[in-house]
Amino acid sequence: MSIFDIFTNQLLNGIVLGSFYALVALGYTMVFGVVKLLNFAHGELYMVGGFAGFLVLSFLAPYVGPGWLGVAVSMLLAMIAIGFLGVVIERVAYAPMLSAPRLSILITALAVSLVLQNGMLTLTKGQYVPFGAALGFGGVRLGNLFISYNQMILVGVAAVLMLGLELFVSRTQYGRAMRAVAVDKDMARLMGINVNAVIAITFFLGSALAAAAGTMAGAYYGSLWYFMGFLIGLKAFTAAVIGGIGSIPGAMLGGLILGLLESFGTQLPGVGSEWKDVFSFSVLILVLVFKPTGLLGKPEQERM
């Protein structure tokens, strides 16, 4: 392989991985934007979403097959189920804490993540669960660059979901209400917006996106594990902060940057893959030092 081939291959890897991170970061950033809560359980919702998709697929496979149709239907059902789980978690664990100091709710989020993780550990006994999808290894070859159909579909689905969310937030009435709540919760309530409903919708959408990513990860990588949400939760958080936490285009940009940094970081001569996370977290620190609001974040303006 020439340098050019390596470059294009790593670019492709970066985009696939990046759109994954972006999809998870999106839910993270949206919840933060509206409720100002760092939902540390987001990575675990991704994990539980993967298992939910697996469960649905094992019921559906005899009827629609284990191919992409089955995965698509399971993904949709898992999104709905985990969306409701997100709403329940919000109602049970976060809603009573919304007016408490920020630190309390942060710790509650950590507790929720531990509950989900250990719950799944008990259910699966810590075993890896093979995701029984048969997606095939086909793809398109352009010179030395091989793009599998799986990768295309993965990036495509992620792009559609991100675009859909962006349209929902910018064009619909609920989206406008979400933005209003994000700016000022109390004022929004005075203007007749049902703040609790808006928060529920936010959690539903955020959790559903995590479940979509989890199901796609299960189908794409072929196995599920109770601890798989931890690392990706950390990466999604990093992506959201790099892009500007609270900003939807920022989460997408941050995810892509992170994915590309990791791919190219692996290939750098003389340093190797053990340094790739160092690059990602160095960029995080640089962003926090030089533009604390993130690349696309806007500084908060206090108006009197």
């Binding site: 392989m1 970066g14 810590g126 093979p130 072929g222 798989m228 692996t266 290939q267 190797g272 053990e274």
Partner: protein, 369 residues
């Protein structure tokens, strides 16, 4: 006040419930294995095998005229959990401990057992880093990384392999194996094209796979555990890597085939002797199957032997005094085993290597040589 009473009552109850474990007419054996976490299946297999051995020893009259019982300390394949588990076992008055699966988790426990003067027999962990940390009470009955690397290089040479990519996860076991392989492989004038370290729990290996396929080595050697190894093997084959793929003993698990699927066909594993490949282990495998309704896992054979060895050492020393037991173990020439005779080097490692080569065929491991 009522809360104080409640707490006190709770404490009394807890102590009372804990008491039967310390009954005076039995000797307690500690089992330190991961029963949670990524390596939990291995750990449970090992604990089962030790308990099977204890049953047989008890039926034959026990040790020093007393029956044996066991208590498990879960090390979770994690250094911090392992320290907790070791402290718990040391505090519960065990006469000896069988266990140690993950080297990274086992190393910090050596000092705890050493301070408490408890003999430890390690059936699985085999990083050479355990040797300098050993305060003198730990015996390794699994061949060490040095033996495994020698076996791996011998195999690669036999297959005409000239260049290899080595991938580990940065933990004591896999890094030790990777470093030793690199050192010995390069010393023999061969080439290491990639030396990569990946994160445990990472799902996407595409960047590493591209780095490897672009260098196109004759073989890839994964020195860490099966769970992430399965994903790596799958992604290597998906991206068209044609060369030989080899894995260390930490990846010898039927689970690898579940995760990697057909991509695991032809994968080579270097492994300690497991029950299914040893004719003399048939009785053990049958007894295990009958009791636990499952096939014995890869480290069950050595765990069973470890327990037999410990019982023999206690009986031969004629006391539970650890200095005497350790002295007996050091001089052991123990042949009542299923994995082969056990005797120790001055470093308290196995005197004679017992590694075998396995090959993935039809979704299962088969003996290659």
């Amino acid at each position: 006040m009522r809360n104080v009473i409640k707490t006190a009552a709770g404490l009394v109850l807890a102590v009372a419930l804990g008491m039967p474990a310390l009954a005076q007419d039995a000797l307690t054996i500690g089992i330190m294995v991961p029963t949670t976490g990524s390596e939990a299946t291995y750990g449970q297999d090992m604990a089962n095998a030790v308990n099977l051995a204890i049953d047989e020893i008890n039926k034959a009259g026990g040790v020093l005229g007393k029956q044996l019982t066991s208590t498990i300390g879960d090390d979770g394949c994690d250094a911090q959990l392992a320290v907790n588990a070791a402290s718990k076992l040391a505090a519960s008055g065990v006469v000896g401990v069988v266990g140690g699966y993950c080297s990274g988790a086992t190393i910090p426990t050596l000092k705890i057992y050493g301070d408490a003067k408890i003999p430890l027999i390690i059936p699985a962990a085999n990083s050479t880093k355990l040797i300098p940390e050993n305060p003198g009470n730990a015996f390794m009955i699994n061949s060490t990384g040095n033996d495994q690397v020698a076996k791996a290089i011998e195999y690669f040479n036999g297959k005409g392999v000239k260049s290899i990519a080595i991938i580990n996860q940065g933990d004591a076991y896999s890094q030790d194996l990777a470093d030793l392989t690199k050192k010995n492989w390069e010393a023999a004038g061969n080439k290491v094209t990639n030396f990569e370290v990946t994160n445990k729990g990472e799902q996407d290996y595409s960047a590493v796979v591209t780095a490897i396929t672009s260098a196109n080595p004759d073989a890839v050697f994964w020195t860490a555990y099966y769970a992430d190894g399965g994903l790596l093997i799958r992604q290597l084959r998906e991206r068209g890597y044609q060369g030989l793929i080899a894995v260390g003993d930490g990846s010898n698990s039927p689970e690898l085939f579940k995760i990697a699927g057909p991509a695991a066909e032809g994968v080579i594993a270097f492994s300690n002797p497991t029950a299914e490949f040893l004719p003399q282990a048939k009785a053990f495998a049958d007894a295990y199957q009958a009791k636990y309704n499952a096939a014995p896992g890869p480290y069950s054979t050595l765990s069973y032997d470890a327990m037999k060895l410990l019982a023999w050492a206690l009986n031969t020393a004629g006391t539970t005094d650890s200095a005497k037991v350790i002295e007996t173990l050091q001089g052991a020439d123990f042949t009542d085993t299923i994995s082969g005779p056990i005797s120790f080097t001055p470093e308290k490692t196995l005197a004679r290597s017992n590694f075998v080569v396995l090959e993935g065929k039809g979704g299962a491991w088969t003996l290659a040589q």
